[in-house]
């Protein structure tokens, strides 16, 4: 899979600003260009490391799960580490 088109990266960039504005929270000391560059870098990192992530998964799961299922697994682990409230909004409950 290629990196996201810039239109989709901009959707993330706009969405992050609206989400953080709604929380009255942001990343201190950055400009819009810094945020867009971070979105670009994160997408590039996913692109560069997707094979590595896939290979890290146990073979049975790797061969049977879809790309969408593997992606939500990664998102869930990252959110459990750093943003439990967001994970609860996706899963309904995390018990």
């Amino acid at each position: 899979m290629a990196v996201l088109p810039d239109s989709d990266r901009l959707r993330i960039y706009r969405g992050l600003m609206r989400y953080w504005s709604s929380l009255r929270e942001g990343v201190s000391g950055i400009l819009k260009t810094d945020l867009k560059a971070a979105v670009d870098a994160a997408d590039q990192w996913v692109e560069d490391n997707s094979v590595s992530y896939n290979n890290a998964l146990p073979a049975t799961f790797r061969t049977n799960a879809t790309a969408s299922q593997k992606s939500i697994l990664l998102v869930a682990v990252v959110l459990m580490r750093f943003n439990l409230d967001m994970l609860k909004r996706i899963f309904g409950e995390v018990d």
Partner: protein
Amino acid sequence: MATRFVLTPNSAEFPASAFPQLTLINRRPTLAFDASTQETCYWSFLAPQGLTGTKTAVISYIMASATSGTVEFEVAVEAITDADATDLDAADSFATVNASGAITVPGTAGYIDQVSVTLTNDDGISAGDYVRLSVSRDADDVTNDTATGDLYLLNVEFRDGA
């Protein structure tokens, strides 16, 4: 210098699309201007008798989250005089916008900043005119509007030179 009007979020008028959201921040009415889409709102009033001199719009705002960077406002005036050939039910006739230039946001989100925009292009406004004031955040200006997140407009003071 005299205050002629204080224009509040609750009295704002909105175009059909690309307008700031009327919302409450800590129970204070505000207009939330997006950081990436240029949004606009209006206020209508009748130009008061005795209006004179340089007109100025003083915009009070806070940032939702940004602590660095700049914002830019664009303020335009539409002044319609009795018997002017302007079809109000079909057209707008705003004069050229007056831009604030890049305004550095407060270093703490939620701290107020007040920006004075001189209305050099005032559409020849005079007493008795039917007036609309247009206010935008120039969010798609990558040079002058660099601050992230929403801008909450608190009010606009309309001054003249009296």
